[in-house]
Amino acid sequence: MAETSPSRSRPRPRTRLGWATPYVVVAQSRLRAQRTYRTSFVFDLFGSLVVGLAELGEVWVVFHNVKVLGGLDFSAVLLLFGLSNLAFSLGDMVFGHIDNIPEYIRAGTLEAFYLRPQPVLAQLMVSDIQLRRLARSGVAVAALVAGLVVNDIHWGPSTIALLLLTTLSGVAIFGGLFVWAGALQFRLVGGGEVTNSFTYGGSYASAQPASVFPTALKVTFGYLVPVVFTAYLPTLRLLDLPSPSLLPSWLAWLTPVAALWVWGVAALLWRDGTRHYQSGGG
């Protein structure tokens, strides 16, 4: 039997980016792979753009007949839509593939993650960033900019801070919801579509003036699946509008707390889901 090679007893070496190396490299490779399918990528980009426009069109059609909805006029809703859609499209781009767990299990991709020295969720996150969703973000940014311009907003450092805080936390909230969805997939066999109710349902709800919601919906999408934080509350705040019952507008500053709540639940659900998977379920 051969001697243990010297390489085995050496300390772990350092690479240029340190612990971030695996993630950066994998993410880069995914982006490269997506660009190699050039025509398909362009098509997808275009399709994503159309989806963004269709969603904006939907809002616009509603306001074609009605001047004010839930205390917001069209310009206000433009801002609402922009904030919501920007957060969701970015969140979808970075985390949207996570609810695909059944597919990853079937293809053996998840097993491969277990054989690598990084946390499984972290590997999953960087494994498939969908660049094509950027087109939808483009529409969202356009709507957001339009909303910021058209409305009478009192600009200042706190406004900028609120915008940044909202967008970053919004992306985090939607990202966390996709992790909920992924984690639940481990237990939901065949019934996986249920998670669309809070990922895509949450996105839809976040782009509406929540004042029109009945109490049950206000509590659900305000506090349980706190998507109201991603756009509606900030919109009220930015435009200095009155708050509806149960949803005071000063909560807009607590969007990061909502994001922490979402990720806290995500961590618990993920741990439960992977434990279930490792115990032979699925």
Partner: protein
């Protein structure tokens, strides 16, 4: 039993429909999951549109609170059957080349796939269609016609709507004979179809020019039409006209499908599969 008395080809189609129905019934969990999501979306949409009706003073383009609620819950209920955002199986069969097998069979490919899809759609009405309307009726409240006629005509209309949805998806998926990656085209269809069929807002609320565009497409006949008939928004000769328009579109798109299938088959033969 009914099946046995039908003439040859019709019997085969009926059997295919039954097979489609049975196959879908194995996905019960998925159906229930879909129902849950439908209901959540239904609640959100209902709140928005009810607020819109209130904001317009109780009446919006002919919709009152009750009738717009009916629109919301009927549309949510029919989503499963109409399947606006799916891809037809034919697309994959063309991509893998399996479609050659379909051509060898003595049955018309389009009719065969349509029959199967109708069976599938029929099943979805049980766990998704009717419960959605029930939930809406019990929670938000809605109003549906009390006479029999809208329901009888409504069944025909739903049938035509489902067929039309399938036929448009079928025709677009046949692009696979000429384009390698059909995902872009099919997803584009899904978005346009969803929008113009009245899934998000009733087509009647579209501004003039957009309504004109929608009318020039088969999409309103897929979802808006059956809902209008079932909810009693159109009755009598108006309803018959709506159904007639649906029928016309079904015929037109079916013919398009036939043309594309034949062209595709010729291309397959020329290329050697």
């Amino acid at each position: 039993m009914i099946v046995r008395t039908l003439p040859g080809e019709l019997k085969t189609l009926a059997l295919l429909a039954r097979a489609g129905f049975r196959r879908e019934s194995t996905y019960l969990m998925a159906m229930l999951a879909g129902l849950f999501t439908n209901v959540v979306f239904g609640f959100i949409r209902a709140s928005i549109l009810l607020a819109a009706v209130d904001s317009a003073g109780g009446q919006l383009v002919g919709y009152t609170r009750d009738t717009i609620s009916a629109y919301v819950w009927l549309s949510q209920g029919l989503i499963g059957a109409v399947m606006l955002t799916g891809t037809a199986e034919i697309g994959e069969r063309v991509a893998t080349g399996e479609v050659a097998v379909d051509f060898l069979r003595p049955l018309d490919v389009q009719a065969a796939h349509l029959a199967t899809d109708l069976g599938r759609a029929a099943f979805t009405l049980i766990p998704r269609g009717i419960p959605s309307v029930l939930v809406g009726a019990l929670t938000v409240g809605l109003v549906l016609p009390t006479t029999v006629q809208p329901y009888l005509l409504g069944i025909v209309s739903v049938l035509l709507g489902v067929s039309l949805s399938f036929l448009t998806r079928f025709a677009v998926n046949l692009a696979g004979f000429w384009i390698v990656e059909t995902r872009g085209v099919t997803s584009l269809l899904a978005v346009v179809q969803s929008f113009l069929s009245g899934l998000y807002v009733p087509v009647h609320r579209f501004p003039g020019w957009l309504g004109g565009i929608a009318a020039a497409t088969p999409f309103p006949s897929i979802l808006q039409a059956p809902i209008d008939v079932l909810s009693g928004r159109v009755t009598g000769p108006g309803a018959l006209l709506v159904v007639a328009v649906q029928l016309a579109w079904v015929a037109a798109v079916a013919v398009l499908g036939q043309v594309l299938i034949r062209a595709g088959r010729r291309r397959l033969e020329v290329q050697g599969g």
